[in-house]
Symmetry: C2
Subunit: 172 residues, 2 copies
DNA sequence: ACAGCCATGTAACTTGTTACATGATTTT
DNA sequence: AAAATCATGTAACAAGTTACATGGCTGT
């Protein structure tokens, strides 16, 4: 539901048209998550269907504007006010892969861990390079994004190490 | 695509029927991600449509078995062998929320950070409690899952702190 | 007999996603 | 005049998800 809410948030900054929304989203997220324009239009149609937005009266051709309705405002406020939900924690592909391998053929787990660590390490280095080039005073959003990716990547490496350790402690 | 591949992995452990797959999945992932049975059947139908699995010959009523086809075996091996992809990193709801708030109304960012930190901290404590009760020698999968959630949660807290710090460094 | 679990399946729906068709405006 | 970018939209589909209908088996 991130995209739906993102569009609401962008429209809260003043009425805009479809293409402008795409640009706003990508610039707000520093280009980290490209957004297919087509999806903006499908999502706008669904938001209108659900009564969360309405077209600006009078405009019709290119650059037709959209604005939030009252329910739309309310939905946005609710989304912003509530912390991101964790009650069924989102499924994590790496964890699923590892746990299923563990259940299926425990012997293949070490190889899986090794492969993943190597890929994750490479990503860490790439992120470090990007961070060195970034300027916290100019591209704040970009820097915060890099921080996020870096911390997440490091946590993944830590987890891989812990998995190895816990598995090792089982053998003897 | 995690669910599709999960079913392939479970079928690789020997032919099973729908309900058994649900149980296998939930026990392999220590109950952290409940799986609606209905979804198993819809997913099985789609996997058959795509030629990745086939029904065991002869069985038809309840407990009809399914097995991997050759393409199914190949798809599973490919999934297990490749590290989880990061090239367009998956969209992260918290990050999106924060960056859009930053773009929309920078003044509301501190409140958002505070709310989120409080929720995340609570989750951390809950996870710590669970970890204290878990036995690494008996419930390995459960312990690894908790490790994962804990490290992820701590990383999130670190990120929230970093965000505050970077924002603070902007004002003066 | 009845409660509860085992078991299968389908219809309907949601969000996300892309490929394509179409044209206006701007830049080179 | 051509190329690039801005701009709108639709058709089609994938994957996930749930609510519901249906019935068999098991233990009390």
């Amino acid at each position: 539901m991130s995209i739906r809410h993102s569009l609401l948030a962008i429209l809260a900054g003043g009425p805009t048209h479809g293409y402008g929304i795409k640009s706003s989203f990508e610039s707000a997220t520093a280009g980290a998550w490209p957004l297919n324009v087509g999806q903006v239009y499908t999502t706008l149609a669904r938001l209108e269907r659900d009564g969360l937005i309405e077209p600006e009266p009078g405009e019709d051709g290119p650059r037709r504007g959209w604005r939030l309705t009252n329910p739309g405002q309310a939905a946005l406020q609710a989304w912003l006010a509530e912390p991101v939900p964790t009650d069924p924690p989102p499924r994590d592909e790496l964890t699923i892969k590892l746990l299923l391998t563990l259940a299926l053929d425990q012997g293949q787990v070490p190889a899986l861990l090794a492969r993943q660590r190597s890929a994750t390490l490479e990503r860490l280095q790439q992120l470090n390079r990007l961070q060195r080039q970034a300027d916290p005073h100019k591209d704040l959003a970009w820097v915060l994004l890099l921080d996020h990716f870096l911390l997440k990547t490091k946590a993944e490496l830590d987890w891989l190490a812990l998995c190895e350790q816990r598995l090792g402690a089982r053998r003897p």
